[in-house]
């Protein structure tokens, strides 16, 4: 098992290396330079000077090697938009996104798995159709609309929830305050993902329930609930774990719209803003962070398979 993990780790390093090269090439060849150099008040003379100072006139491979040398020493450079070190910037934002998307994912799992199981066992009933209807509504409503509508209803009209941010400014730390700020963005995220996970669980359950061992268990006289939860569900969860493994990297970067609408200072917002303003060091660091999460989450998913289904042996 440990040999397996070591092998995966080495593969991960190679992967990250390739990702960094591709990303570097892509962002530098994208049209338009760093937005900070395109401040309309800057004179042409200054723009040329800054380009030279930032090393943007050097050939690309040289710029990449310079960046790599810094990374090896732990220095990811300075953001072009704010003078702060990139590593600190990304490290500060990452937990905020993970909290948001982590809780969102947990909520949608908590809701989706029972809903999926219930839909599978009541296939084609009214309950099944209603659940399908609601979840599709959830996945087709764009977040930038549903988010703003929620803010208007809950913050502007009813004034029961704050309109954005992570916490109330100036107030002392309070868990209740954090939870109040989390409620709307997490709800929006969870609803958006509910449909997918519900449908996958439902179809995985239907497949599992059609297996021969289920019929055998029924014939043996095992109570229905035990058949569903002790036998079928564990097997149905394997494809669901795949989905979660695919979902996790999206969790880091894909909440950009939610984060923007709710002024949630997270990775998605950072990635979008830095890409739009061509803040190269930040874009690189953010992409690598996502790549790292992809690698880790696929490793966790693979290990989880082994736990849920002993037939899958790793190594």
């Amino acid at each position: 098992m440990s040999a397996y993990i070591v092998r995966r780790a080495l593969q991960a390093v190679v992967l990250l290396f390739i990702v960094s090269i591709v990303t570097f090439g892509l962002i530098h060849t994208a049209p338009g330079g760093p937005a900070l150099l395109q401040n309309p008040d800057l004179s042409r003379v200054q723009i040329e000077r800054f380009r030279a100072q930032l090393g943007l006139n050097d050939p690309l491979p040289l710029q990449y090697l310079r960046w790599l040398r810094g990374v090896v020493r732990g220095d990811f450079g300075r953001s072009y938009n704010t003078v702060e070190p990139v590593l600190g910037l990304v490290a500060g934002r990452l937990p905020n996104t993970l909290i948001l998307t982590g809780i969102g994912l947990c909520l949608s799992l908590l809701a989706a798995i029972p809903l999926g199981v219930a839909s599978a066992t009541r296939r084609n009933s009214a309950f099944d159709r209603i659940v399908a209807g609601f979840t599709f509504l959830g996945v087709s409503t764009p977040v930038f609309w549903s988010g703003i509508v929620l803010i208007v209803v809950c913050s502007v009209k009813l004034k029961i929830l704050p309109a954005g941010g992570m916490y109330t400014i100036g107030a002392a730390y309070s868990l209740a305050d954090r939870v109040r700020h989390l409620l709307m963005p997490v709800f929006v995220l969870a609803v958006a993902n509910l449909a997918e996970v519900t449908r996958y669980t439902r179809s995985a359950m239907i497949d599992a329930l059609g297996e021969e061992y289920v019929r055998t268990a029924h014939a043996k006289g095992v109570p229905a609930s035990a058949v569903i939860f002790r036998h079928a569900l564990r097997n149905a969860l394997v494809p669901v774990i795949t989905i979660i493994g695919v979902y996790l990297p999206r969790a880091v970067s894909g909440a950009a719209i939610t984060e923007t609408v709710f002024s949630w200072p997270g990775m998605g917002q950072l990635a979008v803003q830095s890409a739009a303003t061509r803040d190269y060091p930040v874009v690189l660091a953010a992409t690598l962070a996502v790549a790292l999460v992809v690698v880790c989450s696929s490793l966790i998913a693979d290990l989880a398979y082994g736990y849920f289904d002993p037939r899958i042996r790793l190594g």
Binding site: P31, G32, G33, P34, A35, L36, Q38, N39, P40, D41, L42, S43, R44, V45, Q46, I47, R49, F50, Q53, R78, Y80, N81, T82, V83, E84, L89, G92, R93, N96, I148, I151, V152, S155, V156, K159, P162, A163, G164, G165, M166, Y167, I169, G170, T260, V261, F262, S263, P265, Q269, Q273, A276, T277, R278
Partner: protein, 570 residues
């Protein structure tokens, strides 16, 4: 006691104008060493102002009574939305708008701007007075005495020299270097007198020194890496009315009142700059009462109609929107073609229908806010499509078989029209312009791109027409953008007569003669159409009515007057 001034400025609340006037008087009385308190001055203002207000305001007399009984109150925090994370350090490049806004409260400049009777003028701030030699090549500024940095150290001419030297140092990534590029040398004459020796005669130096040139402390920055002074960035120190308190990297920057501020302690306890990137979210937070101020776009005005606690203000700003013309393109070389481009656009209709009345048709690059400098009697180009067509015809462009203009050499009149993405008003104007130009027979292709790409194409002149705006200091000097040889002449415009006039005007020591020269400049520009001037927009601000005393100016300038602002307490 100039209490009647507020009537002419058209402010809605009588008390704002009177409080501003009263504070002016207070400062002057204090400077003359008179022992008065703000309360005394305001009480005098209240008595006379109330009589006027009661007559003029009519209806809500009860409310006015209550406000005047309370008067400006101390305490409370004012919250403003900004679009990104600020860095409260005015020397290096980010120099983004949000940095500038925050810096206005923490730091001071030598002078700042005031709106009086519809014109923006320069008033003393850190500098008490200044004078220049007759050739306008040397300026002497006398600094206010007794100014302290937030850490208690005295602010002197050494700090001013340090700041200017830092900005002009080629190794420092200073975004504002261009603003003070006229300065060759800064000399400390004595602890409270600075002398600027300029590279060329330049009348506009005092105005430029008020354009975001915040003075930074030498004793904290000397010897540090000015591109990334790590310790200073964690706790910036200035001489402004507010002191840096906290920066939560994930969401806001808070400043607190500087009780020892030389202009008098602010009425507010503090200001919070909340980072809210999305413009709809800013509006939502304003309506939910979580922020007190945000700048809005014309399409968002309608959404605030029903909100009784929000006031939409149209603040004058020195800004004009225009279509840049690429003078490298041969077909724009004929002035008749350029004039046709202007005749074909109904600017009144744009102001009426797209801006919903919030704006004024532009006659040239100098704004009416520049008072006497503004020349309203220049040739204008009222909407006349036939005239435009006739001018094009005279210039040799006639419609071919496919309806597109062709000249004698068989070249077709194609136009690549560039604009930035994400600005609905600009996109509407450009779509309208495209239709109009197509009626004339031009084959117009719209090229609406991301902001960085847009500016890159602007700088590299990869366009035929391009829509942009220009926010400038309140000064008529046009040299940088209109002089043929200037590296910042982005459009490649060449007019030797204008060049001579521009150099003469900015070196002219006599104010009357300067005004006359700039009137001529505007005449010449209006006839020659270097770019198509569109409109002067006001800055649209949405403010919570608990805010009082905020001058009705663009927020870049209003934020330099925060000592006068107070808020209602719940």
């Amino acid at each position: 006691m100039r209490c009647t001034n507020w009537q002419s400025t058209g402010l809605r609340d009588g008390e704002e104008g009177v409080a501003v006037e009263a504070d002016d008087l207070l400062l002057r009385l204090r400077d003359a060493n008179a022992r008065v308190s703000r309360r005394d001055v305001l009480r005098m203002a209240a008595l006379s102002g109330m009589a006027i207000a009661a007559r003029e305001a009519g209806g809500p007399l009860g409310r006015l009574n209550a406000v005047w009984a309370a008067g400006p109150v101390r305490g409370g925090v004012w919250r403003m939305a900004i679009a990104g994370n600020p860095t409260a350090y005015p020397i290096t490049i980010p120099g983004k708008l949000v940095d500038i806004l925050v810096d206005k409260t923490i730091y001071s400049t030598l002078v700042h701007y005031e709106l009086r009777n519809g014109a923006i003028g320069v008033v003393p701030d850190l500098a008490e007075s200044w004078s220049a030699n007759s050739a306008l090549t040397e300026y002497t500024f006398r600094l206010r005495k007794g100014v302290k940095w937030h850490d208690g150290q005295p602010c002197t001419a050494e700090d001013v020299k340090f700041t200017l030297d830092a900005l002009l140092n080629p190794k420092v990534e200073a975004g504002l270097a261009g603003v003070v590029s006229s300065v060759a040398q800064t000399q400390v004459v004595d602890p409270f007198t600075v002398k600027f020796v300029l590279k060329y005669p330049y009348a506009s130096l005092p105005v430029m020194l008020g354009y975001n040139i915040a003075i930074v402390p030498k004793h904290l920055l000397e010897g540090q890496d000015l591109n990334q002074p790590v310790q200073f960035l964690q706790h910036p120190i200035g001489t402004g009315p507010f002191k840096f308190k906290t920066f939560a990297r994930d969401g806001y920057l808070e400043v607190e009142a500087n009780k020892d501020y030389y202009g008098g302690a602010p009425l507010l306890d503090g200001i919070v700059f909340k980072v809210v990137p999305d413009s709809n979210a800013r509006l939502a937070q304003l309506r939910a009462g979580e922020i007190d101020f945000t700048v809005i776009d014309p399409p968002q005005v309608a959404g605030l109609q029903g909100a009784s606690e929000i006031e939409v203000r149209r603040a004058p700003q020195v800004n004009y929107y225009f279509f840049a013309i690429n003078h490298g393109s041969a077909r724009f070389g004929d002035v008749r073609v350029r004039q046709a481009l202007s005749y074909a656009i109904d600017k009144d209709a744009i102001v009426r229908n797209i801006l919903k009345g919030d704006g004024r048709v532009a006659t040239g690059p100098i704004s009416p806010l520049l008072g006497g400098y503004y020349n309203s009697r220049v040739p204008q180009y009222p909407y006349d499509l036939e005239r435009a067509q006739a001018l094009l015809s005279e210039a040799g462009w006639r419609k071919g078989a496919d309806g597109v203009l062709v000249n004698g050499k068989g070249e077709r009149f194609t136009v690549l029209f560039n604009g930035p993405k994400g600005y609905p008003v600009m996109e509407q104007v450009m779509t309208y312009a495209q239709q109009q130009y197509q009626r004339l027979g031009m084959a117009v292709t719209l090229d609406i791109v991301d902001w960085p790409v847009h500016l890159q194409k602007y700088h590299d002149r990869q366009y035929d027409l391009l829509m942009e705006w220009w926010i400038t200091p309140p000064d008529p000097d046009l040299y940088d953008h209109y002089y043929s040889g200037s590296p910042d002449n982005w459009w490649g415009y060449k007019n030797p007569q204008l060049d001579t006039l521009l150099v003469r005007a900015r070196s002219e020591p006599d104010p009357q003669a300067r005004v006359a020269l700039y009137q001529q400049v505007q005449e010449m520009i209006a006839k020659d159409v270097p770019v198509v001037y569109l409109y002067y927009p006001p800055e649209l601000q949405a403010v919570n009515k608990r805010t009082h005393g905020l001058p009705v100016m663009g927020y870049r300038d209003a934020l330099t007057w925060m000592t006068k602002v107070w808020v209602d307490h719940p």
